[in-house]
Structures are given as structure tokens and as C-alpha cells.
């Protein structure tokens, strides 16, 4: 029986070392000048330890990672927050647009597995913050993206869901100007911790479930359709109008499963 006690202690010791190691792993932080949904002069941030990567934005145009730490991350937008897990390649995001007729409780977090996007990497290059960056383009969920990434840092960091490039994305934008980020600083091997406020959005009880991403989109679309119906009902009688895609002003405007051919 005593040997089982030793094994238990040994396992606990290994777990403790591992826990401390994970927590003390140095972080890489990128700060971007950011435009999102026609909000200009805001800031977005990535903090990554190559195990997890958190992406979020702050509406304070003067925000830096240092000022965010000092202000306890109060200006971080609580809705557009993403947690990418490098091991299982899942990205987690918040559920916040839910039709009023849905009864609580409901999952607060949704997730999907991120595939590598189909990037077209060009030979065009430029210097960004002293790193050689290459131009790459892709189409993703109804938008055409153009990014500049560097291979110089031997790590993989990407904002939001722009996965699949062998390096760090330093600039990104979609052709319609809905989203744009330009890296202003990179802090390598930082001793900063992951922000508690951001971590709290992704913490959950063991009993809580994670919503599949498709379900999140279903709920969002229900709300968006309701909004559209109200807007049409409010138009003066007799006016002529066209109904756009209800997701026209969403970052993700269409989805790959919508164009999948139906199986016989």
C-alpha cells in the first residue's frame, strides 16, 4: 500500500512542477492599432505563450498593454474576446447575442476547431518593426483578407481566426475595411500574466457546457433576422427596398457549411 502512496506523491509533484512551468511560461504580446466595425483609433492585443493565445480589443485609443495592466483591463471589450488553444486547435468565444425567447441557462462560451486557412503567400515583402514580413491573402467567411506576416520569430501567432501562416501576423485587413490591425509593438518573453479579466470570460464550472459554433451562429442569425424584420416594418408604406445579407455588418458574413453540396 505504501508504494501507492509514493506514486500518488510523485504524480502530485510532477503536476505541481508542470502547473508552475505553464504559469511561468513567458508570454509574447503584440499591440495593434486597430479598426473594427467602423470604430477607428482603437487598440487590439494578443498575448500568447504558445499554449494559449488571447485576442481582444480596448476602445481606449491611448491604451497600451502596460496601461491595461495598470487599469485592470477595464477598457477591454467584454464581447469580442477569443481564446485559442494550440493543443486542440479550438478557439473559444463568448456567447452574447441570444434571442429573448431562449430560456436560461445557456452556455456562455462557444467553440470551433480552427482549420488552417487557404493562404496564398507571395514573395512581396516589407519591413515591419524591424522584421521581414511577407504578404499573404485569403478568403474567409465572406471577406477577403490581406496580411503581412514574419517568419523571423520562429513562433506562430495570429489574431482572431486568421490561422495557418508559418509565423506572426503583423498587419491584417479585409478589403472592405471592416477590420484592420497594424502592429505597433511586440514584447517577447514578457513576464506579464494572462489578464484575469479575460481569463474569467472563459472560466466555467464543470457542469457548464461549451456551445458548438454552429449553434452560436443560429442564435445570432435569429436575432439579426428579428432586427431586420423590425427595420423593414418601420419603413414608410410604399417605399421600395432591398434586403441585404443579415450578416452584412458581421465579421463573419457567410459560412463554409452553407455552400456545402447536399449529399444524396
Amino acid at each position: 500500500m505504501q508504494i501507492f502512496g509514493h506514486i500518488k506523491n510523485f504524480i502530485f509533484f510532477i503536476l505541481l512542477i508542470n502547473f508552475n512551468f505553464v504559469n511561468s511560461q513567458s508570454k509574447n504580446i503584440i499591440e495593434y492599432d486597430y479598426t473594427f466595425a467602423h470604430m477607428q483609433n482603437i487598440k487590439s492585443f494578443i498575448i500568447s505563450d504558445q499554449t494559449n493565445s488571447y485576442y481582444f480589443f480596448a476602445s481606449d485609443p491611448k491604451a497600451s498593454y502596460k496601461t491595461l495592466v495598470e487599469s485592470d483591463f477595464t477598457s477591454v471589450n467584454p464581447y469580442h474576446v477569443y481564446d485559442y488553444n494550440y493543443a486542440n486547435e479550438n478557439i473559444y468565444q463568448r456567447v452574447y447575442t441570444v434571442p429573448q425567447n431562449v430560456k436560461q441557462p445557456i452556455s456562455k462560451i462557444a467553440s470551433e476547431k480552427l482549420n488552417n486557412l487557404n493562404w496564398k503567400i507571395t514573395n512581396e515583402s516589407k519591413q515591419i518593426l524591424g522584421y521581414k514580413a511577407f504578404l499573404a491573402t485569403t478568403n474567409f467567411r465572406g471577406r477577403e483578407y490581406l496580411v503581412w506576416f514574419t517568419k523571423d520569430l520562429n513562433i506562430e501567432i495570429f489574431p482572431w481566426k486568421l490561422k495557418g501562416l508559418p509565423g506572426v501576423i503583423l498587419e491584417f485587413e479585409d478589403k472592405d475595411g471592416f477590420i484592420k490591425g497594424v502592429a505597433k509593438t511586440i514584447s517577447l518573453n514578457s513576464n506579464d500574466e494572462f489578464p484575469k479579466k479575460v481569463l474569467s470570460y472563459f472560466s466555467k464550472n464543470a457542469s457548464e457546457t461549451v456551445m458548438p459554433f454552429k449553434k452560436l451562429i443560429e442564435l445570432e442569425n435569429e436575432v439579426l433576422q428579428e432586427d431586420m424584420n423590425k427595420a423593414i416594418a418601420a419603413l414608410p408604406p410604399g417605399v421600395q427596398y432591398e434586403v441585404p445579407n443579415i450578416r452584412e455588418m458581421s465579421l463573419e458574413r457567410s459560412f463554409e457549411w452553407q455552400t456545402e453540396p447536399k449529399k444524396p
Binding site: F36, A37, H38, M39, S59, N77, P78, Y79, H80, R94, V95, Y96, T97, V98, P99, Q100, I106, K108, S200, Y201, V223, L224, D227, M228, A231, I232, L235, V239, Q240, Y241, E242, V243, P244, N245, I246, E248, M249, S250
Partner: protein, 91 residues
């Protein structure tokens, strides 16, 4: 008699041809089509703390183009509104 009948028929058909303003009609419909412009309202929803939640595009409404406005173009306006959904789900 035959000659008079053919002469009247020929003149009558010519007059009818001139009476059908087909070319003018095409031009008019084109002008009407291209003088249509659109307005669209984008609503930026925020929570009670003024934090951005989401954007929604409204219907694209046909209007007569303003002077100098490019035909077929859309004039976009933005409004800010409290999101009735965002605060339902406390974080």
C-alpha cells in the same frame, strides 16, 4: 385600284413605324434605372456601459439620387442604440 391600296398600306405602315417610340422608351427606362440611389442605416449596438456589441445593416431603401450623387450609390448613416440582448447575459 391595286396601286392606290398598296400606296395607302405603305404610307400607313411607315406612319405606324414612326408612331412607335421604342428607342425613346428604352432610353427613359435606362435613365430611370440609373437615377436610383439607396440609403442604408447601420445600427451600432452597445451595452448599458457604452461598450460595442454588434453592428446590423438595415434594408437598402431606393431613393431619388441627390444632385451630384453617383447613380446606384448607397448613402450610409450610422446610429447607436442600446442592445436589448447584450445585458440579458451577465458576465
Amino acid at each position: 385600284m391595286k396601286k392606290i391600296f398598296f400606296a395607302i398600306s405603305f404610307l400607313g405602315l411607315n406612319c405606324l413605324a414612326y408612331a412607335i417610340p421604342s428607342v425613346e422608351n428604352t432610353n427613359t427606362s435606362k435613365i430611370l434605372k440609373f437615377s436610383t440611389c439607396y440609403t442604408q442605416t447601420i445600427t451600432q449596438y452597445e451595452n448599458s456601459a457604452g461598450e460595442y456589441v454588434r453592428s446590423v445593416a438595415g434594408p437598402r431603401v431606393s431613393v431619388e439620387c441627390a444632385s451630384g450623387q453617383l447613380a446606384g450609390s448607397t448613402k450610409t448613416s450610422y446610429t447607436h442604440q442600446l442592445d436589448p440582448y447584450a445585458d440579458l447575459w451577465p458576465y
